[in-house]
């Protein structure tokens, strides 16, 4: 490269432009950005629409199988040996104290009392995947699921493990998966946010908004928390006494002042961009609520998601909303099963049966419905579904009595479906106790790499310059996606 080219080294053009203080919409920048391949034609300023949306769609590094991701986050950490990681030997060992290395919230231990799996497993589908009785509905989708039974994470503590599952790092301050994806690809519907998070009715997860923050990236890439009823997005609803036409008058007046102000300053595209952003906001008010309006959904569809049953209504609504958002081009959607603390999420320290029965019971039918509905609409191939928590649980008991299991980051199960994933497959194994991954072990960053790869992003090339470094979601070392589950 030439010397002038070298001046760009180590930083993206975009970063360089930020440092000018000019922002995305500054003068003459669009050309530079387009030349950089970051902004497609759609984002280039035109006379009618000078607003350069930082979320404008742009091509990935290659053609990806998936267009959208739905991440079903089982907050608290579901137990692998009670869900999808069948360990026949463990049943016999129930109650016996055995030597096993564990590390959880209660510290490191070298032995423990085995809690045998509390549910029976059966094989399902052509593929014969083992699934426990906790998921009778999901079991009917066995041939769509690809299990990773050898997941590992760095921390057995909720806060840091959550951050790692969401942002790749155990410390806060880095952008989350959804931010990276919107940074890489933009969103296809400018009337909706590109990164949506839906929370459990009991509250947010530990560390709250850090789990959907854009960290050192601009706020444009942070998630929007969306509700499946009421006002879906913060500040989307007009004040009660202001009708749409009254607000239109207000905006018309605003823009008339703004245009006069701009007339002598028309060299500055920031002013035009701000004018355009108000029109976009006005449109969002109209179109975003439409996404949450289920009145056109058939009773059959509502039933498929369990919206008609009290137990599954809440998660079912969220899954149905996720499908509607996918249809409308939203790039990354995350739904939390479980919120707040203790047994309000999958964190089964006390009574495992009660805890997992409750959370699986609320989610099993809606998730199966989501898979089936996406499939029947031909959307499953382009929608990647990811299921899992921030870690798994230990095969042994946490306390002298009871069935509670402590956290386990040494080995746990996640599954993917759709979006070019090989259904009916399984990769990796834990030991015979299910306590630690031993075969084909994978780390959170490999899951992240797989998600990016399915979207057409090279995980080792997607970088953002910050703090003197080209930061990447997957970190400094090259990371391979999990090829075994890619179709």
């Amino acid at each position: 490269m030439t010397e002038s080219g070298a001046a760009f080294c180590g930083r993206t053009r975009r970063e360089m432009l930020w440092e000018t203080g000019a922002g995305f919409t500054g003068l003459g920048l669009t050309g530079l950005l387009s030349a950089d391949g970051f902004f497609g034609k759609a984002a280039a300023a035109s006379e009618e629409q000078p607003f350069v949306n930082p979320l404008a769609p742009r091509p990935g590094h290659f053609a990806g199988k998936a267009k959208s991701v739905i991440f079903l986050f089982m907050y608290g950490g579901p137990s692998q040996v009670d869900t999808f990681d069948y360990k026949p030997k463990l049943y016999e060992l129930d109650g016996k104290t055995i030597a096993v290395k564990t590390k959880g919230r209660g510290g490191s231990k070298n032995e423990g009392r085995v809690v045998g799996p509390k549910w029976n497993f059966k094989q399902y589908g052509q593929s014969g995947q083992w699934i426990s009785d906790l998921f009778p509905n999901l079991a009917t989708c066995a041939d769509d699921l690809a299990f990773i039974k050898s997941m590992t994470a760095d921390s057995p503590i909720h806060g840091s493990a959550m951050l790692q599952m969401n942002s790749g790092k155990i410390q806060s301050g880095s952008p989350c998966l959804g931010s990276w994806i919107n940074y890489g690809l933009g969103t296809e519907n400018e009337n909706l946010p590109g990164f949506v998070v839906m929370l459990d009715p009991t509250g947010g997860p530990i560390s709250g908004a850090k789990n959907w923050s854009s960290g050192y990236m601009p706020a444009s890439y942070q998630a929007t928390v969306m509700r499946s009823g009421g006002t879906p997005i913060l500040d989307l609803a007009r004040p009660e006494d202001l009708t749409e036409s009254a607000q239109r008058r207000l905006l018309d007046s605003l823009q008339s002042y703004n245009r006069e102000h701009e007339a002598t300053r028309n060299h500055n595209s920031n002013l035009a961009a701000r004018i355009a952003s108000y029109e976009l906001a006005f449109k969002m008010q109209r179109y975003a609520p439409e996404a949450t309006d289920f009145s056109q959904e058939t009773a059959e569809t509502l039933g498929l998601y369990g919206v008609d049953k009290p137990q599954t209504e809440s998660f079912g609504r969220q899954c149905l909303l996720a499908r509607r958002l996918v249809e409308r081009g939203v790039r990354f959607i995350q739904i939390y099963s479980g919120g707040s603390h203790n047994d309000d999420n999958w964190d089964a320290h006390g009574d495992l049966v009660k805890n997992h029965t409750y959370h699986a019971g609320r989610t099993d039918l809606p998730i199966a419905g989501l898979i089936k509905d996406l499939k029947q609409r031909g959307l499953l191939d382009e929608t990647l579904i990811v299921w899992g928590g921030e870690f798994g649980r230990q095969p042994t008991a946490e306390y002298a009595e009871g069935t509670g299991r402590d956290h386990n980051a040494y080995g746990f199960t996640m599954w993917c479906a759709g979006g070019g994933i090989k259904g009916g497959s399984s990769v990796g194994e834990t030991d015979e106790l299910g306590s630690a991954a031993v075969q084909d072990r994978f780390h959170v960053k490999q899951l992240h790499a797989t998600i990016l790869h399915q979207l057409g992003i090279d995980p080792n090339r997607l970088s953002y310059f910050y703090g003197g470094l080209d930061q990447k979601l997957v970190g400094v070392e090259e990371v391979e996606p999990i090829r075994q589950i890619i179709g």
Partner: protein, 853 residues
Amino acid sequence: MCSIATDLRRPEFRSFFAAAVFCQFAAVGRSWRFVPLLVMLIGFTPGMASADTASLPEADLQFYQSQVAPLLEVHCNKCHGADSKFRGGLDLSSRQGLMTGGDSGPAIDADAPESSLLLDAINYRGLEMPPAGKLPAAEIAVLTEWVRRGAPLPVQTTSRTKHEEGPPKAADHRGHWAFRPVVSGPVPEGSPADWGNSPIDAFVWQQLTAAGLEPTKQADRRALIRRAYFDLTGLPPTLAQVDAFVRSPDPRAYEHVLDELLASPQYGEKWGRFWLDLVRYAETNSFERDGAKPEAWKYRDYVIASFNSDKGYDRFLMEQLAGDELPDASKETRIATGYYRLGTWDDEPSDRTQALYDELDEIVATTSQVLLGLTVNCARCHDHKIDPISQRDYYQTLALFQDVAPDGHRTSPYELVDLSDSPVVAAYRERDAELGRIRHRLHELEQAAIARMPGVDQRRTETDQRLQVLNEKLAQFQSAEEGAEYRRLRDELVAWEQKQLPPRELAMGVATASANPRPTHVLIRGNPHAPGAEVEPGFLEVLSGVPSAGSITPAATSSGRRLHFARWVTQPDHPLTYRVYVNRIWQQHFGRGLVRSASNFGLKGDQPTHPELLDWLTAQFIRGGFQTKPLHKLIMLSKTYQLSSEPTEDQLRVDPANDLLGRFDLRRLSAEELRDTMLLVSGQLNLKLGGPSVYPAMPAEVLAGQSQPGQGWQTSPEAAKAANRRSVYVHVKRSLLLPLLSSFDFPDPDGSCAVRFATTQPTQALSMLNGRFANEAADEFAKFAAREGGHDQPSVVRRALETAFSRPATQAEVIRGLKLVNELITEEGLTAEAALSRFCLMVLNLNEFVFVD
């Protein structure tokens, strides 16, 4: 093999990889430095390698080829084979590679093969290789036998060097512009008399005219005074202040305005915030609990007061770095050491050692980027790939801060600095010791009894039901002696807790430092569990030309290292410290620095657009005793600063990015300026100075995202009312930022922010149109405009526009506003009051309100 680099499986290493700043050199291909390696890689294929088998005994050769080689191929060569990247520095394809080993040391121990690191790794003893899973026993046996034989390996006739061209060396780069002494060169001559006579103008003129350009016209007086007010105080002038200035016949009226603004307490509130961005000021620790850091606000007030008193920048740094070690240490300087307590920290780390070095890394990163404009943090795991900063440099720098005791843990997080008089300190010390002793024993007794309880109850004792369980059941599970001791201690506890002591003054800062800190090692691949050579505290090799003042002298309560560093970094002839700071001040005025990469003055940072000007200003700053206020005046009195924001046609063509400063860049208000101004124009802004932070109303939807909605945020209406203060006083809770502020690019406080984003996004419009804060401000604005300007509609409309614009409104503007008010009443059925309120909401959304010319 056994490189830590690829060993992502071992928990402690994994957490390191997650925790360490991910360092990645500029993508391959973007840097010329990689080109030779690429050529070499392309030219190398496995087929080209041939083995010299002559020297190997037949049995060993056969064993290797039939059993070892296939195994290596399947499990190892991808990362450590001949055509791999030699992950962790380990090359398994040659004997030399095996013997030299990787970053963790030689793979084979020739003297004691059974102790070879390679065998440790495949047996998952410490290191774990291959990472995807332990090999079957039979394969481990093959490799063990191979190592036992001395790892016989055919000689590769083709070899390639293990490392690409090395990282930059200090000796080669001492001549980099930012490492050279500041030289105040001659001021260019030849600018015309009607252009400014400030040397700033002369430097700017020279470069503008060299490009065939001329500066645009001067800003009109109304635009200028509004610009000056926002720049120095973050608030707009009142209409009366503008009028007085515009009408003043005094040729020095502008200078007087600047003096007045610099003397106002609002100056420190605006400029203190710029420093708080840099040092990542927040009042909570992030991680699971994101708990409040007590007394953090005193550091914020210290920063504001330091700007208001125009403390010398050298002294400002000395106080923050070594305020506890200074000969004239005071309450103020001890509060300044809150600098070391600003970062995120884990109160329940999975790996304590890792967490300690993560915290130290944050201090190294912040200190080096903010003070020196260098990313020393990039050398944590390996030598800096771009700048001449070695990994050794990193750990020598880190050693400078090793004496600061880390924050505590979940149950006892913070040790505060006690600023009280000594009898008060002693009284509290006694009480705290007694309380600690009693609580410790009580806890022991409780846990002993809890261990005998049923599991369900044990679990409950870890929740908020603990007290209840203890009250109900503790006695049943205690022996008579235990019970007696427990009750006696409870009584003692209550007595101590109720003991009346005089109030004391606490601060967040360096409460405890060690005279003899733990040794510092270079950590191999940045891994705190893999210590390498021990290093002494020291400064960057590339800056060895900057003499250190004196030597490290340990004191009774600290190591003296930070004071030593503080003296070195504030030396008047330090090439970086003052250039970096002066550039930041310039950046705050003009929207970007003369060096755009304000926290990176390294080899790949931006070159200054006006290097001579930067040096001239820096020299002035140093000569003037490191005062910031005269620097503001120097800049703001230049014609360059006073230029209009309207470009000439030539400028747009030749210099669209305004690198040559031929005009002033229009800018949007910052998040704080916007909120503060909305409060000001609506008559709600309380200009009270300092004190504990305030809690504006947080939308319920945002609170709902917390695991315990409302936790750590005061949500009462009284709290909200008391929060109509300047935004610099809003509580900074890392996981719960005020949406209005973060939407307008208030930075994420987890890392240093040198340049704020300036985004335009529809969510900003939504919060400004529909948000509660904006609508309440509009209601108040309408009432305030009526009180100030008269209650009839034209008066309210005129007053609101003029207040928002800091200029008289035109008749057409008033008529347009009245038209909206009228339509809202007649067509939309709003009351007159509501219509005026909506009109005011519209005004708050105007570009002219939100942008500064």
